[in-house]
Symmetry: C2
């Protein structure tokens, strides 16, 4: 009864998106031997306002001490608990091209409870190969592996054309969380949570700002086409 898990329900998406950043900064502080930190210090290390940090953390409960600050270790554990990192998350990667290889051996995937336990591709030249100690298997084995390995998260790293079919197969197999790296949006049942990471989109946003800078700078120069 001391820590009420139900109270996590009203944590907004904006707050959740910042929690991983807080957690990484706290880990860095812990490595440096810091055991206690104020909201002002932590906020400036992360790059947010201190008021926002305190408001975010207050959603998780009262883990700070007035006049002192937050205990680094305690706060890190609490954020981990809220994010669900204290349990095990078996992950499957579908599509073992360059990107799939990179994701399967990405250090960030191995930590925090995420375990890449299954790799899939239909290219006969790739099936059987080992990446990070896991064997690449044909895509048809997906449903069986999802059941046997209790796979909770699917990562799509296929070309755009295959993304929709893979997403449907993952959803049909019971995977409710999908991280989609393919340059295409996919339609899935409402019960499935999809997050898309598109490298091309990020570049285009950068290009927009870069272009705006070059237009803004030379006030006297001829701008027209």
């Amino acid at each position: 009864m001391s820590a009420d898990p139900i109270s996590r329900r009203d944590v907004s998406d904006a707050t959740v998106a910042r929690l991983p950043e807080y957690l990484r900064t706290l880990s860095r502080l812990a490595e440096r031997g810091v055991s206690c930190v104020s909201s002002a210090e932590l906020a400036s290390a992360v790059g947010v306002r201190s008021a926002q940090l305190r408001k975010d953390l207050s959603r998780l409960g009262s883990y700070g001490v007035r006049g002192v600050g937050y205990e680094v270790e305690t706060l890190a554990v609490e954020i981990s608990r809220v994010l669900g990192l204290t349990r095990d998350w078996p992950v499957a990667v579908v599509g073992m091209g360059n990107l799939g290889h990179a994701l399967a051996s990405y250090p960030g995937f191995a930590t925090k409870g995420f375990r890449v336990v299954a790799l899939f591709d239909d290219d006969p030249g790739l099936v059987g190969e080992q990446v990070g100690g896991v064997v690449i298997r044909p895509f048809a084995e997906l449903p069986a592996r999802v059941r046997s390995d209790r796979i909770a998260i699917g990562v799509i790293a296929t070309p755009a054309a295959a993304a929709q079919a893979v997403g449907e197969a993952l959803a049909a197999a019971g995977v409710r969380s999908i991280l989609n790296f393919a340059p295409a949006s996919i339609a899935v049942p409402a019960a499935v949570d999809v997050r898309r990471v598109d490298l091309s989109t990020e570049l285009q946003i950068l290009a927009f700002h870069a272009q705006r800078r070059t237009y803004a700078a030379p006030l006297s120069g001829a701008v027209a086409r």
Copy 2:
């Protein structure tokens, strides 16, 4: 004077983030031979409300025809222009491990005016290797290459420990736009625009929602550890 480039100034970040999605959907429609589309059709294809789509597009100017809709080709060209995709964007990738290799040969990088023209790594085992027709060079050559190739965008694909140094080197060399894939935030001068893509953060957000689902489902089951 017909198309005023200054009017692009008041396009909000939220709108800019959606423009690439609109553009990709328009390209798909054009491939299918669709030449005209209403805001309702386009919006549902993208997955946003039609009012939002219209408001976004109205920021770029009046490119729709009342009673008819938007001409696919014209709208695509205009969005491309606003995003700055009609010019050439030389890109450098720093850190040619698994992720760097994947990014350098990513199809989405090659299209839309982005050209990977330089690859850097300090591992002697990688220097000299060709990826997509571009030779990997030692990191020390970065400043010279930025000048000679007019590199505008830098992609950081190094381990976390190297990210800060690479970011500083890019900024010092004159690169004003950085896409950071390393699992670490970097501090750069205010004139430099950094976007961070963190695979671990995305997974953690997925895990949060997945955990919330499992807590919400078994109302009668004992939750307390």
